[in-house]
């Protein structure tokens, strides 16, 4: 479904401009917030396992750090572009702001495909990335985290390189580390659970009970799996999931009307979230085209894969039964599709609110690392629920009070807080 012409940064700017108009921001403030404050582009030369040399391109953007150190993931993706990283860093600024955690927004990436790299080669890229940027990142400057196709092992290699270079133990430099190595309990569950917390609150507002609803979800990675786990525990039924098939280089949807079984699907899934089609068929799943997850007759849709998935072209095919869309991924809905969703009276929970669980828990991890005192899982997840619920209800109250959509409300609330911080510092 991805369109080559799609530019995430253009979309992010469009969203910002619209909010800036409503907030009547002055030109300097708009200028400051429309683009990242800092951008780093660098090369990472490594020796491949066959002895050849290869150079990978890396990025890091700090969109804004007026509210605190920048925070954002590092993506390993073959189609990575600086514009995507810019857009995602901007969304991180809004996300940390709407979640009300004292951090700014950043994002990084490397143009590479980990599927085609050995572990040692991946380690070299991680260490090379840190060597290029270590002067500009750190526990009180800019704190990276895992993102698309990066994992706790990658974070640990990066931390190790950073600590070797700086000569200090600084586990707060990076989050998403393995538990026991500076990682926080509850981190793996956080984003998926967070999405479901916002859905739980939305269901309350719509006077619905989870056990009376069904769901279809795009993606079968970490976010989707934990979202399915919690939603199922609440009594809901997931009937369709989709995932990317590395071999066929396209996505497929897996449907089971009686409800997907998370455990059985996990048993036939590779480390990148790809489900084995043949075995899924044996287990009674219908294998459909990749975009079919979106057109199911369900109450709730969760796009939890990549950006630009619900577009002007496909939005009309969304079932009239759908009542809630919760954006588990960043930027999955285009502004054009957004308007149509609004007209269909679907309750949309915007990305930087719905998937804020990850960054909230990253923040908890950083706090724990800086204190070198680690909390119980009960404590981490209890705080996560509290923060997510508070964030959702703040945005909801704002939206009902001002008759605005959740996305516009979240945007305005988030941007306003960042603007206030910038003004308080005398930047604009």
């Amino acid at each position: 479904m991805e369109k080559k012409s799609f530019n995430a940064f253009e979309m992010a700017k469009k969203q910002f401009d619209s909010a800036a108009e409503m907030l009547e921001l002055d030109e300097a403030t708009r200028d400051l917030l429309r683009t990242p404050m800092k951008e780093f582009h660098f090369s990472i030369p490594i020796t491949m396992d066959d002895g050849s040399k290869k150079v990978f391109r890396g990025f890091r953007c700090i969109h804004n750090d007026a509210r605190g150190p920048a925070k954002g993931g590092i993506r390993f993706h073959p189609q990575e572009t600086i514009d995507t990283v810019r857009a995602l860093s901007m969304w991180m600024t809004w996300k940390t702001s709407v979640a009300d955690i004292p951090l700014g927004g950043g994002k990084g990436g490397v143009i590479c495909d980990p599927h085609n790299l050995t572990k040692r080669e991946q380690e070299q890229i991680c260490r090379g990335w840190v060597r290029q940027i270590y002067k500009n990142v750190g526990p009180f400057t800019d704190i990276p985290a895992p993102d698309v196709m990066t994992n706790p092992q990658h974070m640990l290699w990066m931390l190790d390189e950073y600590e070797i270079i700086t000569g200090k133990k600084q586990p707060g430099f990076i989050t998403g580390k393995p538990v026991g190595m500076g990682g926080s309990l509850g981190r793996t569950e956080a984003t998926g659970y967070g999405v479901i917390i916002t859905i739980r609150e939305a269901l309350k507002k719509l006077s619905l009970k989870a056990k009376d609803t069904t769901m279809s979800i795009q993606g079968f990675g970490n976010v989707s799996q934990y979202a399915i786990e919690l939603y199922t525990q609440m009594g809901g039924k997931v009937i369709c999931v989709s995932c990317w098939d590395q071999k066929d280089e396209k996505s497929f949807s897996f449907k089971k009307e009686s409800g997907v079984n998370l455990t059985e699907l996990k048993n036939i899934t590779d480390q990148f979230g790809g489900i084995d089609k043949a075995r899924a068929k044996e287990l009674g799943y219908d294998i459909l085209d990749g975009d079919q997850w979106l057109f199911q007759e369900v109450d709730i849709l969760i796009p939890a894969a990549i950006e630009n998935q619900i577009t002007e072209e496909n939005v009309e095919n969304i079932s009239s039964k759908v009542k809630i869309i919760a954006e588990g991924a960043n930027g999955p809905t285009t502004p054009e599709a957004d308007k149509i969703i609004e007209s269909k009276d679907i309750f949309l929970i915007p990305d930087f609110l719905a998937n804020a669980g990850g960054v909230i828990c990253s923040y908890f991890e950083q706090v724990q690392c800086n204190m070198n005192y680690f909390w119980t899982k009960d404590e981490v997840l209890g705080k996560l629920d509290q923060k997510m619920t508070y964030a959702f209800n703040s945005v909801y109250q704002f939206s009902t009070k001002n008759s605005m959509t959740m996305r516009v409300s979240a945007n305005i609330m988030a941007i306003e807080k960042v603007v206030d911080a910038c003004k308080a510092r005398g930047w604009v």
């Binding site: 525990q233 119980t376 009960d378 209890g382 705080k383 629920d385 619920t389």
Partner: protein, 575 residues
């Protein structure tokens, strides 16, 4: 019966009860919810200075327990024969289901009064199989500045109560009652504790247990006239069978039959329980009394909480003066409220028990706590919190026993202070505490020996007659043998005998006796000067199956015959 889903508002005038999670609320919570409505509908206007209600609480329903057990794979260790501590530690290391954490955090961030974390199991408080006192209750001060710490302590308390579902006492109780532990589910009540803070202590001015039917009527009182136990401080004193003030609500002025003022000084409450609001104690989440203090009542002098409850001993005249106006030893006889009727507590109890009896259509046992406001200008200076209501079992089989039958040739044991009613002839085993080695300082060791024999007889399914000295089930090992219910759960008849050095007026640990009577166990109290001597020679002549240092187990080749006349409260055990 309507209860509200927890909406992250705890102390709301409109919502004093709420629930979290799915499933059932359990027996205890169910009765509290029922009586919350009854209290709201009832007219207590004649007690215009007393606020009568059920303290605010939230119930974590049984679905949360189910999720906790399955998500943490705890059933294997729960059903194993591992020690209580091992089970408790495994439960502490597990995580609560995510779905309730946000609500619990929100609750604790808004509440900073001391909390009681109480069990409310599916089978608890069932009329004929009462699990009263079998499961744990954790009291927490909840006064830490940091809500993270308060949250952690509350979660530890919840896990402790969950773990107590599978402690040895509970398992043996299940075995004795013929119930299947695998069918048990636990809800948890998180409830504000009724009390006031005095320095580093938090406690109610008064706590008590009222029963509308008295299995131990003394003097001229009748079983139907009921009985009330009052204690200063937390109700744990009564529940554990410690010294408390016992009286019949129809005769509140009459004191228990103490031989002298000196005896009254010794046999009235001298220690009281409170919640520790001071420096944190040693970390011990698997200890039920981690945050509880027991102190001498003199330590409450400076709190000025004794004046409505005590009389003062004047050694120059060897007399008691009501109140605490003079210096001297305090006697917790509750005379200011019972004799001078400064606060109409007794009238309130009579009315409340009547209301509860009518609604339950059976005799009832209630637990309550009261505070007397420190603010004299308050419109309702007294608060009465109803903590529990449960039905009592009263056996009404018609048995008539003539006095002459108590002293016939084949009598082994007879008494005119017997609890229970009915005839039985299925016991061949007698377990008794040996007179010659009995030592009040060693009652804890005696309890262990009894437990050992009890386990064996229980596994062989042989009910037995148990004979010992002092108050069974007392938490104070100087007053009797401090057995838990599970340690004597196989006994069908229990005898409480007196010795010169163990001559305690009979009393009852609330939960202990409630369970005892609900299981229809016959209970014989033998006063020091019993008119009917026990035939020790015959008992000692029987075959000794087990002979330990303090306890013996003998067996008769025929069944003993037991006749108990509930109306005359007399009973006899015959060869």
């Amino acid at each position: 019966m309507k209860i509200n889903e927890f909406n992250r508002i705890f102390f709301d005038d409109e919502q004093n009860i709420s629930f979290i999670g799915e499933g059932e609320v359990g027996g205890k919570a169910s009765s509290l919810i029922y009586f919350d409505n009854i209290l709201k509908e009832s007219d207590f206007s004649e007690f215009d200075e007393i606020m009568v209600n059920i303290p605010n609480f939230t119930v974590l329903r049984t679905g949360v327990f189910d999720d906790f057990m399955t998500q943490n794979d705890l059933y294997d260790i729960a059903y194993s024969d591992k020690s209580d501590d091992e089970i408790a530690i495994a439960f502490q290391n597990a995580s609560l289901p995510f779905s309730v954490l946000g609500d619990l955090r929100e609750l604790i961030s808004k509440v900073n009064v001391p909390l009681a974390i109480r069990s409310s199991s599916m089978l608890e408080d069932a009329k004929y199989k009462p699990f009263a006192g079998i499961y744990g209750t954790k009291m927490i001060p909840n006064n830490q500045f940091d809500s993270d710490t308060r949250f952690t302590k509350m979660v530890e308390g919840i896990k402790y109560v969950y773990a107590s579902t599978f402690f040895k006492d509970a398992k043996e109780y299940f075995t004795a009652s013929g119930l299947e532990i695998r069918k048990e589910k636990m809800a948890v009540i998180i409830q504000e504790i009724i009390g006031n803070r005095y320095g580093d202590k938090f406690y109610p001015n008064l706590s008590g247990v009222g029963k509308s039917y008295n299995y131990y009527p003394i003097n001229e009182t009748l079983p139907e006239e009921g009985v009330v136990n009052l204690a200063f401080g937390l109700g744990k004193t009564i529940v554990d069978g410690g010294l408390s003030w016992i009286y019949c609500p129809k005769y509140p002025h009459k004191k228990p039959p103490f031989g002298s003022v000196n005896e009254m000084l010794k046999l009235t409450q001298t220690e009281f329980w409170s919640v520790n609001m001071g420096d944190p104690p040693a970390y011990d989440p698997i200890n039920e009394t981690e945050y509880m203090l027991i102190e001498n009542i003199h330590s409450a002098e400076e709190d000025e909480t004794l004046s409505n409850l005590v009389s003062t001993y004047d050694h120059t005249t060897d007399r008691l003066t009501i109140g605490s106006g003079r210096d001297g030893a305090r006697v917790l006889n509750f005379a200011p409220i019972l004799s001078l009727e400064l606060i109409p507590i007794n009238d309130l109890l009579i009315k409340l028990m009547k209301v509860c009896e009518e609604k339950m259509d059976s005799p009832v046992e209630i637990e309550f706590a009261m505070t007397f406001s420190k603010d004299s200008s308050s419109e309702k200076p007294y608060r009465f919190g109803l903590l529990q209501v449960r039905q009592m079992v009263v056996n009404d089989t018609d048995v008539r026993l003539e006095r002459s039958e108590l002293s016939s040739n084949d009598t082994i044991i007879a008494s005119e202070h017997v609890l229970g009613n009915g005839i039985s002839n299925n016991i061949k085993d007698i377990v008794f505490v040996k007179h010659e080695t009995f030592d009040p300082a060693k009652t804890e060791l005696i309890a262990k020996e009894i437990a050992e024999i009890n386990s064996k007889l229980l596994s062989e399914k042989r009910p037995y007659l148990l004979i010992g000295y002092g108050r069974w089930g007392s938490s104070d090992h100087w007053l009797g043998i401090p057995v838990t219910w599970s340690q004597i759960s196989g006994a069908s008849i229990i005898v409480e005998a007196s010795l010169e050095n163990m001559n305690i007026e009979f009393s009852q640990g609330s939960h202990f006796f409630h369970n005892l009577t609900s299981f229809k166990i016959q209970y014989f109290y033998l006063p020091l000067r019993n008119d009917f001597p026990t035939d020790w020679n015959w008992i000692n002549s029987l075959d000794h199956v087990t002979d330990l240092e303090f306890v013996s187990h003998v067996r008769y080749d025929k069944a003993l015959k037991t006749i108990v006349d509930g109306k005359s409260r007399s009973g006899v055990i015959k060869k």
